[in-house]
Subunit: 305 residues, 2 copies
């Protein structure tokens, strides 16, 4: 078992930055926590840009479209461009349009929020469910006999704070009635950190009733699934050998990087604690490098300094 | 592997009835389907009563209290007494009051419907959540910072047609924050047959988000869990050797009977088809006897005939 290398000194960080041209960043727990920037994150991103590094933001957050996610960067004063942002909602939409090539007369039944719908719309995918008021109800299902829509060719499930029995039932009926109906999830995160760091059930928990009732596993388009990396590769050219994934979760970020043949840097400002790496159970993925915080990279030299 | 015995002739049925004094019946798929009685079920129950057999109804339906479930029998013209009816909601309430002996100053957080609340109330168990209008909302959670109620000592989850993110989040926070908080489910049925036989996600699917987010298995009080049998035994005396469980599901009814040391009779009017017994994968439980329908027992002699 390879050990992770813990980084400390300015020369450690300089060496690291010299080694990689493309930097993939998870956001929550790495660059910010909730609405608070991690100390030094802003300067480090600017330093990397000054050193002509490519920066890509890779998030499993499927409640926001890239355009809305960009607004979060703007608010925090972090430079970011929409084409640098890859969210699992976008990856799901691209997967449906470019990999599955969902026929134009087919629709997706959505359990998810406006951001997911926005990405589907942008990729020209028709959908039902989602934020449709008719499906956002706590009335017992079915109020009237449910007529299966034969145009539904896929069910896509992301984090949905308005999840309810009607949406779950409709999704279930489609998948249970038609074995050729695709079952996609934006990501399988068991939890996510809400405002103030409060841990709440994540997108994986939202799709769990369907997995359980159907005894069927979905295709995921979020980290650690390589679908997300394929989606990034379709839009950006990079040399995997000179690319590093920076994240705070072993079972998503670090596993994602490892499986994609990238180098990996774990930061300890989010979910994973240093003690998790030393626990008796072997970790799900071992990062190449570990540092306390992305802010530690402030010690590198800027271009020309 | 023991084979099931398929029953055909009047003497088969007479022999069966002679052998067992106590008859445990699953209801949906055995005595009725939705709101339609299975042909002959009424007569067979009357015949068994005329032969002085004890009859007990054992259902995983946790949306109705025993009192409400009795009304269903009344409507269908089937003789039944409340103390003959064991539902998984009742089993959960008895488990909390008699096995766990939940302290009087502790409460249960409920994901479930009025019938479950009724059984808890009858057993003197305090609860929050459930049908409380404050928790039956599709507003994003938390609307205001959630204050953990330290009096909650257990989370109990049954089928809830008004399940939503607020209830799931509160249940999750209690279980995630306090490892001593009990995690109970009324049953783990993946699906249930709604009106017209439409299959919809069952109670097991409702608790699946919690299992997934917590990576923790709950205690179940419904079939096949033996908690249900313990609950029946606490109220009725019977000789397990002269007791038979009649049901339509291998993974609940038949497994429940087998694990409890009862004999088992599978009927083919519900979920399990005869072909399921002959499939390549070994069935989860092999019934001692199989018959097409409970109505087949009409062929037995009534007392004195």
């Amino acid at each position: 078992m390879t050990e992770s290398r813990k980084l400390f000194s300015p020369s450690d960080y300089d060496e690291l930055v010299d080694k990689y041209d493309t930097w993939l960043f998870d956001c929550d727990g790495v660059l910010w926590r909730g609405t608070t920037l991690i100390d030094g994150a802003l300067e480090v991103l600017q330093l990397l840009r000054s050193r002509k590094k490519s920066i890509i933001f890779v998030t499993n957050n499927a409640t926001l479209s890239r355009a809305s996610y960009k607004k979060k960067f703007d608010k925090l004063g972090v430079e970011a461009h929409v084409d640098e942002i890859f969210g699992s909602a976008y990856a799901a939409a691209v997967y449906l349009s470019s990999v599955v090539k969902l026929p134009k007369d087919k629709k997706v039944f959505v359990i998810g929020m406006a951001g997911l719908e926005e990405e589907l719309r942008d990729e020209g995918i028709s959908f039902v469910g989602g934020t449709d008021p008719a499906d956002n109800t706590l009335e017992p299902f079915p109020a009237t006999p449910y007529k299966l829509d034969p145009a539904v060719g896929a069910v896509l499930c992301g984090l949905d704070l308005a999840v309810n029995y009607t949406k779950l039932s409709k999704a279930f009926i489609h998948l249970n009635t038609d074995p050729s109906c695709l079952f996609l999830v934006t990501n399988e995160d068991s939890t996510y950190p809400a405002q103030g760091g409060l841990l709440l059930p994540g997108a994986g928990a939202i799709s769990a009733p369907l997995r359980y009732a159907l005894d069927r596993d979905p295709i995921s388009t979020g980290k650690p699934a390589q679908t997300m990396l394929d989606c990034i590769k379709a839009k950006h050219n990079f040399d995997t050998e000179r690319t590093i994934m920076v994240g705070d979760r072993l079972n998503t970020d670090i596993l994602f990087g490892k499986q994609g043949g990238l180098s990996t840097l774990l930061v300890l400002t989010g979910i994973t604690q240093e003690s998790d790496l030393r626990s008796n159970a072997p970790p799900v993925a071992i990062p190449d490098f570990v540092t306390n915080s992305i802010g530690d990279l402030k010690q590198i030299k800027s271009q020309g300094s």
